[in-house]
Amino acid sequence: MSNQMVDLNRVGAKGAIAEAAEGKWGMVIDRDLCTGCQACVAACAMENNLSFVGEEDAGYGRTQHWIRIERLWEGEYPGVKVEGGFQPMLCQQCGSAPCEPVCPVFATPHSEAEQLNLQVYNRCIGTRYCANNCPYQVRSFNWRDYHIEPFHANLVTGQLVFPLHNQFNPDVTVRRRGVMEKCTFCIQRIHSAQDKAKSEGREVEDGEFTTACAQACPASAITFGRLDHEESLVSQLGHVSRGVKHLEELNTLPRVTYLEKG
């Protein structure tokens, strides 16, 4: 460390601004590669104990997808195209998140350590102001105790047994009705990797772990990692000229860069 140049852009107030602007954990999603296969959606659901809501609620805007694949059309037959390709949309973990100031009970504060937008399930009282204020509309609400509806159970020797619950990830809270939730950039994996690295006395290496969606994606369209480390893959991909940030003009400082079709 001793003969390293001090990067004045990274220390002091300027550093704080730089870090706030750039972020720590971030993602790059390549829309040219995304095939819309929904592997990321399924992986996220399995990793984060998401509930499925059934046909009626799914069509009525109550799905719990923390990541969704958007598809818009342009043109007319036979020249019709998917506009810009498939668009995976997930919580952008904004540096200046509009959802944070509006929660009356601080249930969605900003993490200084990971530079992520946190969702504290046990503090949320369900006013849903954060969901209204999110310009990306990536927050979902637990409208019901979907997981424990008797429909999913078997009656075995007089008791309700829920076999599907065996699949729950113990590292992630199972949410009750009345609380908001959203993508956390698999913070349980972040902490797990950090704990492991710390116990081994080293830093977390780039690519040592990744989010569930990035891990599953067969097209490797999602890259996750440290935006503030220049040598990380996500940082380098983020500076590609095709890269755009969605709804950038709102100054939300999103941590997800989308690589548009070239």
Binding site: D32, A45, G59, W73, A219
Partner: protein, 768 residues
């Protein structure tokens, strides 16, 4: 001499690959024949708070992707791809991710069941079950015993083949809806005709600079979607200097087509002609003589028949001429036509023209899997109809069914369900109470894939020979029950399933005589070892071991065995161009205004309907969840007075099906399309519907299979309108039906993730 391998050494042996998983894969909790450490050093899976990871193979389709499953205290909680497995290199598709909801599905067959074809259902114990299997084997003449199996579970297929061979029974027939829609017989026949080798072709997408897909849905469920998606990604952005270009010919914009730079809609059945026309234009542009294969086609005529403009054909020909490694891929509905074989040959001929057989970015023959003498393709649809005729004629007295649900997967017009009536004894090994299982005499449930031993041969999708391995990642599904007297909690097995291979081995031992000699193994694992033992002496393997027990341990730990270097066979192209390819448009069966185009649902696949998270995944192109829809061009619909959510009746010469309408902007006006994968009348609460006005969450459903009754279907099955028409290779001409469409006056609101307001401008005063 057997080497004692300690757990520490296992750690070192596991490859870090893409470093995306923690990578300790031990031997599964049901490990057999491996030296165990003393109990003072506890097995990994009992450490509180620590996960253990086990390598296995996904069984949701036949691709053979390797998995590493994270388990915690005996429960499987997350599926990841095995970074070392050459097929998927650490990636998984949505169906693989959701396989856990199959393992833990509330609607599994809970114990061996006397099903009585649905009329009288009662549970049994395994000893009685094995006795019944033994009796079925013993008491029938071998030629009257038949096995019908799915395309997965290769080790079971091998065991059954060996058994059948030894006792003189006919070889097992293998079939699955996916193989039907992939037209595997056509692909391998085309390969045989043109390349001299009957095997699956492998298309090296990754290194191609232009890809022309004639109907091949390689990003969805076709053959090996994870591998091909990886290839697609490399094609697109793998070369920093050039972005790969992709052109897709299909009557509807499938998910694959939506990723194309140019989606060329055309009349179904004309794909072969279009390929030939392009070939001719390419040959002419290059100068020199036009090869025989393309000599008799007239591009202008093709333009008018197919609906593809001549300028477009010329433009594509030009792109091919300028490309380094243009690759043409036949597949999907293009082969599911009466002229499917000639279409495949035409497209392969196009590859020959551009001289990319055996070159990077070109066509190869997939390597044989380790331990395989030749590629054994699944039965074609025509061969299945022959099988069904055998059933109907009464010459099958005992039918064993595993890994396939023919009542659902086959067109109704094949008459499988009726033919069951002519088979005196039907024994199903289904894990789930699907339509065929509940129509059987007995269900002796096999383990779920994640609870199973085995191996899976990779027929295509990898450049190396791969034998992917399976081991149980959990020891079963348990539930906790409290003893009412003592108040103590005990753990009970919820699903009392047993490996079918084990059942057959036990039954043959019980039957004695030649049966016992046919399978001289003490259990399934010993049988598997007998099949692996030859690999010990193979060179260039991903690992080596001196003897079988160690080899098996490594095989389990790595999730399989594969060769380290690619072994793609180079087909010889010399004769391809000099053969003339039969160029004609497809014939359609029946009368009707529309051509019916069924396609496999990219999210449900052939067997995903009972996994609720797959149901909740929106279809990539329509975003519909939990139901079936029929795609109609908006202009056409407007003319017919049909709008979104209208329920229409689709009638072919073979049957009728009803579905709600989705006005789909990217489909040929004369074609309607419907996804395959829904329409179950059994298979569990998520695959079926509890009634017309269901309250999804409010009921504890009665087990449909206990009552043997058919539940209300969720959605519809397009196989209901498919007739028994085949292409030259015997594959089903599933896209060769003409249908009539009629309004019923009913409405059924489709649950879409998308907003009709935002995407289609509904309610905004202008419709898009």
């Amino acid at each position: 001499m057997s080497e004692k391998i300690s757990r520490r050494d296992f750690l070192k042996l596991a490859s870090a690959g893409a470093a995306t998983t923690a990578v300790l894969t031990g031997c599964g909790p049901a490990s057999r024949y491996v030296e165990r450490e003393p109990y003072t050093k506890m097995p990994e899976y009992t450490y509180n708070g620590l996960s253990t990871y086990y390598a296995t193979t996904c069984r949701e389709c036949a691709a053979g992707c390797g998995l590493i499953v994270r388990t915690m205290q005996g429960r499987a909680i997350k599926v990841e791809g095995n970074a070392s497995n050459p097929v998927n290199l650490g990636k998984t598709c949505a169906r693989g991710q959701a396989t856990l909801q199959g393992l833990y599905n509330p609607d599994r067959v809970g114990s061996p069941t006397k099903q009585g074809r649905g009329s009288s259902v009662s549970p049994m114990d395994w000893d009685s079950a094995i006795q019944i299997v033994a009796d079925a084997l013993k008491n029938n003449t071998p030629s009257e015993i038949a096995f019908l199996m799915g395309t997965g579970s290769d080790h079971l297929f091998d065991l059954v083949s060996d058994l059948a061979n030894a006792i003189g029974a006919p070889a097992p027939a293998r079939f699955g809806a996916l193989s039907m829609f992939e037209s595997r017989a056509t692909l391998s026949k085309a390969a045989e005709n043109l390349l001299g080798q009957s095997a699956m072709p492998f298309f090296d997408l990754a290194n191609a600079d232009i890809v022309l897909s004639f109907g091949a849905n390689f990003l969805e469920t076709w053959l090996s979607p994870v591998a091909y998606t990886r290839g697609f990604a490399k094609m697109r952005r793998g070369n920093p200097k050039q972005r790969g270009y992709f052109i897709h010919f299909e009557a509807r914009m499938s998910q694959t087509a939506s990723k194309a730079d140019e989606w060329i809609p055309l009349l179904p059945g004309t794909e072969g002609l279009v390929a030939l026309a392009i070939g001719r234009l390419v040959a002419e542009a290059k100068g020199g003589a036009t090869p025989e294969a393309f000599a008799s086609v007239d591009p202008l005529e093709v333009a008018s028949t197919s609906g593809v403009k001549l300028e477009t054909l010329e433009h594509i020909a030009q792109l091919i001429v300028e490309a380094q490694t243009p690759l043409a891929i036949p597949g999907g509905a293009a082969l599911g036509q009466s002229n499917g074989l000639s279409t495949a040959e035409a497209v392969l001929a196009l590859n020959a023209l551009t001289d990319n057989f055996g070159k990077p970015g070109g066509v190869f023959v997939s390597p044989l899997s380790p331990n395989e003498d030749a590629y054994h393709r699944p039965a074609s649809a025509l061969e299945i109809t022959e099988f069904i005729s055998k059933m109907k004629s009464g010459s099958i007295k005992a039918l064993f069914i595993h890994g396939v649900n023919p009542i659902f997967e086959l067109p109704k017009s094949f008459g499988f369900e009726e033919a069951l009536g002519s088979v005196p004894q039907v024994i199903s090994f289904a894990t789930f109470p699907d339509e065929t299982a509940i129509a059987s005499d007995y269900i002796f449930p096999d383990h779920h894939g994640l609870e199973s031993w085995g191996y899976q041969r990779v027929a295509t999708g990898s450049m190396q020979p791969v034998l992917s391995g399976l081991q149980p990642v959990v020891n079963g599904v348990y539930y906790t029950t409290t003893d009412p007297d003592t108040g103590a909690d005990t753990s009970e097995l919820l699903y009392n399933a047993r490996g079918t291979a084990d059942v057959l081995i036990a039954a043959t031992q019980l039957a004695g005589g030649k049966f016992a000699e046919a399978l001289p193994f003490k259990d399934e694992v010993e049988f598997i070892q007998s099949k692996l033992v030859n690999l010990i002496s193979e060179a260039d393997g991903s690992f080596s071991a001196p003897e079988i027990n160690t080899f098996t341990a490594y095989f389990q730990q790595h999730g399989g065995w594969w060769k380290k270097t690619a072994e793609l066979a180079t087909p010889s192209a010399s004769s391809v161009l000099s053969k003339s390819v039969n160029a004609e448009t497809a014939q359609f069966a029946g009368e009707g205004e529309f051509i019916f185009l069924p396609f496999v649902s990219p999210t449900l696949g052939e067997a995903g309907a009972n996994k609720p998270w797959l149901q909740e995944l929106p279809d990539p192109t329509t975003t519909v969840m939990w139901n079936t829809w029929v795609e109609i061009n908006p202009e056409t619909a407007h003319e017919l007075g049909i709008t979104n959510d209208d329920v229409v009746e689709i009638t072919s010469e073979a049957g009728v099906v009803k579905a709600a309408v989705y006005l789909y902007p990217a489909i040929h006006p004369g074609v309607i399309a419907m996804p395959f994968g829904q329409g179950h009348t059994a298979y569990g609460r998520y695959a079926t519907s509890v009634g017309v006005s269901e309250k999804f969450m409010d009921l504890v459903p009665t087990s449909q299979y206990v009552n043997g009754g058919k539940a209300f279907p969720r959605g519809a099955n397009p196989a209901d309108v498919l007739g028994a028409h085949f292409n030259e290779a015997g594959d089903l001409a599933f896209a060769g039906m003409k249908v009539e469409v009629k309004k019923t006056g009913e409405k059924q609101v489709l649950s879409r993730l998308e907003s009709r307001i935002g995407v289609y401008g509904e309610g905004m005063g202008e419709e898009h």
